[in-house]
């Protein structure tokens, strides 16, 4: 029988799937921006393949876990065909199909010359899958779906750049290449940041009528923790853009090391943000849901 720890296991699986999916679709988007930069593109493709495979594996495990959770007879439910029939007919089935198709397209784009259609369409499908089920399923449905999709596309683009840049800073790229990559990213990331803030804020305003009531719930407190982490990430991003990346020009070795360390910290913050997302979607219900 399933017990108290099950919610945490569900949240852990959700964390893994969200993190790997965002890494995969973000890497696919980045591969469009850096299609002309061979060394960095190679890093991105490796990252994309690993993340897409992990996300697909995670989806399989998560679906089996959901079937077991629905059946409430321990592992037996994971082998109960009716539960998969129910999943397939529900909004979970739609989300599953969109995410799996998107991830497969992203994975496919990592072989040969990617072009723009496969990675962009794959990323769009994967991101929109998060709007098909869960807390985004509410009125005005289309607008909420667009907002959550844009939010995820931008977050993923930013998140996926962090481990790739970190690997580049620590060893994989030469200094001029690293500088070019970081400067290009800084330019595109400014737009992504604005979209992350605008889509996130609008989503909260539209989805929650009573903001103060929201903040007194477990869901709201976790959202607050997530926003705090986002603010710290913004501060780190500003440090990178205005201090560390320009510093690569004059004091390459020391600044490269500092940039790598700062990116490692940013990566940890992103992972913590995804912990909050998993908790919000798996551990808490909405205050007036």
């Amino acid at each position: 029988m399933m017990g108290l720890g099950d919610e945490y296991l569900a949240a852990l699986l959700q964390w893994g799937v969200v993190t790997a999916t965002c890494l995969a679709l973000g890497s696919a988007l980045l591969s469009c921006v850096y299609s002309g930069n061979r060394p960095f593109l190679s890093l991105l493709k490796q990252q994309l393949r690993l993340a897409a495979c992990c996300a697909l594996l995670g989806l399989v495990l998560q679906t089996a876990y959901t079937a077991a959770e629905m059946y409430d007879e321990g592992l037996e439910g994971a082998f109960e065909p009716n539960m998969y029939h129910f999943i397939w007919q529900s909004s979970l089935g739609t989300a599953l199909a969109l995410r799996a198709a998107g991830l497969l397209l992203c994975l496919l784009s990592s072989f040969g010359r990617p072009g723009l259609v496969l990675p962009l369409f794959g990323a769009l499908l994967s991101a929109s899958s998060f709007a098909a089920s869960g807390h985004a399923v509410a009125e005005p449905r289309l607008l909420l779906a667009v907002l959550i999709t844009v939010h995820l596309l931008c977050i993923s683009f930013w998140f996926a750049a962090v481990p790739a840049l970190m690997r580049g800073a620590f060893s994989a790229l030469r200094l001029p290449q690293l500088r070019d990559v970081a400067e290009t990213f800084g330019g595109v990331a400014a737009l992504a940041t604005a979209l992350v803030v605008a889509s996130g804020a609008l989503f909260i305003l539209l989805r929650f009528e009573d903001i103060w009531g929201l903040l007194s719930s477990g869901y709201g407190l976790t959202l607050l923790a997530k926003l705090t982490l986002v603010v710290v990430i913004f501060a780190l991003a500003a440090l990178h853009k205005w201090r560390l990346v320009p510093g690569l020009q004059n004091d390459g070795g020391r600044m490269t090391r500092r940039l790598g360390q700062s990116l490692a910290l940013e990566l940890l913050l992103f992972l913590a943000i995804f912990v909050c997302v998993a908790a919000m979607t798996r551990l808490f219900t909405l205050p007036h849901g």
């Binding site: 629905m70 409430d72 399923v137 219900t285």
Partner: protein, 112 residues
Amino acid sequence: MNKRIFLAALLAFPLSAFAHSPLLSSEPSNNARLEQSPDSFQLSFKREVRLLKLKLEGAQELVLKPGPDAAQSSHHELPLPTALAAGKYIASWRAMGEDGHLMKGRIKFSIR
């Protein structure tokens, strides 16, 4: 010490992922004392849900499952295949909401 604090924090967190579309009423209702076995089990929810399973435990054990093509509805009625023996029962139900979230609940009742 840290482990204890961590475990206490985990247990203190309100786990409510299974509460998205609360049950409005049921027949038999919670804590009902019936004179005879009901013919069916009825559950009414705030919104439309897909009922996955109803499990009766107590004087007699029984699992009721809607068919795979059972519709999503805010009201579900599951006929009991046999009359229930006298005694105490706990009926545990599981359902899935429109947003894909799982819900569960328990109803206690007894038959004299």
